[in-house]
């Protein structure tokens, strides 16, 4: 089992969601996240003073899946999420030891869908 964490652009969320639905990913967790780094947010002005938005806004998808599905999901996110410009985000794939569904204590593969 793997957990796929994908940081994506806000503007690409709808496309990625459709792409994931097509390959039958039924559920994922979505978070609003903020990135800080050398690349700054948009330049803004207020009453004559110029400032940067402090952070870069992105979304994070957390998807749990069986090993054999990882490459499909990665392909879907990459093809739907890519603009080719700096800031398209990253996908991280993490090994998962155990998954337990709280509702009925189902574990592992049967708890994934």
């Amino acid at each position: 089992m793997k957990k796929i964490e994908a940081i994506i652009r806000l503007s690409r969320f709808e496309l990625i969601r459709e792409a994931l639905a097509e390959i039958d990913v039924r559920f994922f967790t979505l978070s609003e996240v903020k990135g800080f780094g050398l690349q700054r947010g948009e330049t803004l002005t207020y009453r004559g003073s110029v400032y940067d938005a402090d952070y870069i806004a992105r979304l994070q998808l957390d998807i749990l899946c069986p090993d054999e599905k990882v490459s499909d999901i990665v392909d879907a996110i990459v093809s739907a999420g890519r603009t080719g410009k700096v800031g398209d985000g990253k996908i991280t794939i993490i090994d998962v030891d155990q998954v337990i569904r709280i509702r009925n204590s189902e574990t592992d593969e049967s708890a994934l869908s």
Partner: protein, 418 residues
């Protein structure tokens, strides 16, 4: 004649209600221009100032501003006494109207009382986000109870400026410059917000948390200004009141255009906060002369006030390093002086430019010195500034243990049905 009296008196009461709405306008404008961590604090101050203002004006202000007798002492200081309740009612409306009386003593008091409170509200925006609550309220009480009535008496209560034929129709100087220069004194004693001026000499932008609130505040102020200026006719005279409506609105509109052009020239962007301040600058500017200028002159006065606004705000903010979150010193102080001087340039009638300049400088100077003295004493005795920690956390939590916007809105803490 009774009907005439009734109409006149009713208009003064309607104007009173309009001036009352300006307090909502100030509250929304100031709330919009501060950071979200200080919104409860600024609203608290606004709620207290209208209340303190009316009470102190009843207790001493009104009689100090409109002393019943002439004479040297009355001419400089007025009298310390509560509003004379026996002077409230009118016994015969018809006779009163024939004598040229347009309203009851009660109407007079409540209309003037609403004005007095606006003057102190001007200060609250400039000192926002860092002043201690109670010391500020002590200052505001003394300001509305004594300083504003003394200044008002000079021009409107038969004082020395009235004797010199100084013209300030509804208070470009007597209300707005007085408030603006009191604000300047307070800001100088208080210092800038933490982090506003960086060690490298740069200025940090501290954006207001809600432009919709600020815009609503300015529209409400424009709305209320129909009463502020229109009521200052002191009767429902059809020509005079409608003329004042026209000049007031033309100046506000021209102020918006002036600020739009100048702020684009300076910043190469369309800064909403500047256009909002420009509208207010135009309104403050026309307030001294609204009943004695033509439409063309009103547009010129408002347009120039609008051009002044971005220049003045940048001069205070970036070069003099005087941190005024809402621009009160520019809107009320600088445009108040401009409006008063403009009477000498555009006013139809016998107005002396010299008297106008002298009068507005005397008013601004007195308001500044008196406020600096009072605020200076309060600063020396109890301190006027919140602690560094409190300023960083925000005055809402620091002074009031409360958030303006519940943290539950941020999502994590939101509990829904499932």
């Amino acid at each position: 004649m009774e009907a005439v009296f009734t109409v006149n008196n009713l208009w003064i009461l309607v104007a009173t209600v309009l001036v009352f709405v300006m307090h909502l306008g100030f509250a929304m404008l100031e709330a919009g221009f501060v950071q979200r961590k200080n919104v409860v604090n600024i609203l608290f101050k606004n709620a207290m100032i209208i209340s303190i203002g009316l009470l102190t004006y009843y207790l001493v202000g009104f009689q100090l501003m409109y002393p019943p007798d002439e004479g040297l002492i009355a001419n400089i200081m007025g009298y310390f006494a509560p509003f004379d309740w026996s002077g409230g009612a009118i016994s015969n409306y018809g006779e009163a109207a024939a004598d040229g009386t347009a309203y009851t003593g009660y109407s007079d008091f409540i209309f003037q009382g609403m004005f007095a409170a606006t003057c102190a509200t001007i200060v609250s925006g400039a000192v926002a986000e860092r002043i201690k609550l109670v010391p500020f309220l002590v200052f505001a009480s003394i300001f509305v109870a004594i300083i504003y009535p003394i200044i008002g008496m000079w021009g409107w209560g038969g004082g020395w400026l009235a004797d010199l034929d100084f013209k300030d129709f509804a208070g470009s100087s007597l209300v707005h410059a007085a408030g603006g220069f009191a604000a300047l004194a307070a800001v100088l004693l208080l210092g800038p917000r933490r982090g506003k001026y960086r060690k490298d000499g740069g200025t940090t932008a501290m954006p207001g948390h809600s432009m919709p609130l600020a815009a609503m505040g300015v529209f409400l102020l424009w709305f209320g200004w129909f009463g502020f200026n229109g009521g200052s006719v002191l009767s429902a005279d059809p020509n005079a009141v409608s003329l004042v409506f026209v000049t007031t609105s033309l100046a506000a509109a021209a102020g918006a255009i002036g600020a739009f052009i100048m702020s684009y020239a300076l910043f190469k962007t369309y800064d909403l906060s500047m256009v909002l301040n420009g509208i207010l600058g135009g309104l403050v500017g026309i307030t001294a002369s609204a009943d004695v200028v033509t439409g063309n002159s009103a547009i010129a006065i408002g347009f120039i006030a609008g051009l002044i606004i971005p220049l003045s705000i940048v001069a205070f903010d970036k070069y003099l390093k005087i941190d005024d979150p809402v621009g009160a010193t520019s809107v009320h102080g600088v445009c108040g002086i401009w409006g008063t001087i403009a009477v000498g340039i555009f006013g139809i009638g016998d107005f002396s430019l010299g008297t106008q300049i002298m009068g507005t400088l005397a008013i601004g100077g007195f308001a500044f010195i008196a406020s600096f003295t009072i605020m200076g004493i309060i600063k020396a005795v109890v301190g006027i500034r919140v602690s560094e920690t409190e300023e960083i956390k925000g005055l809402d939590v620091g002074e009031h243990d409360m958030h303006a916007y519940s943290l539950k809105e941020d999502g994590v803490f939101q509990l829904t049905a499932e």
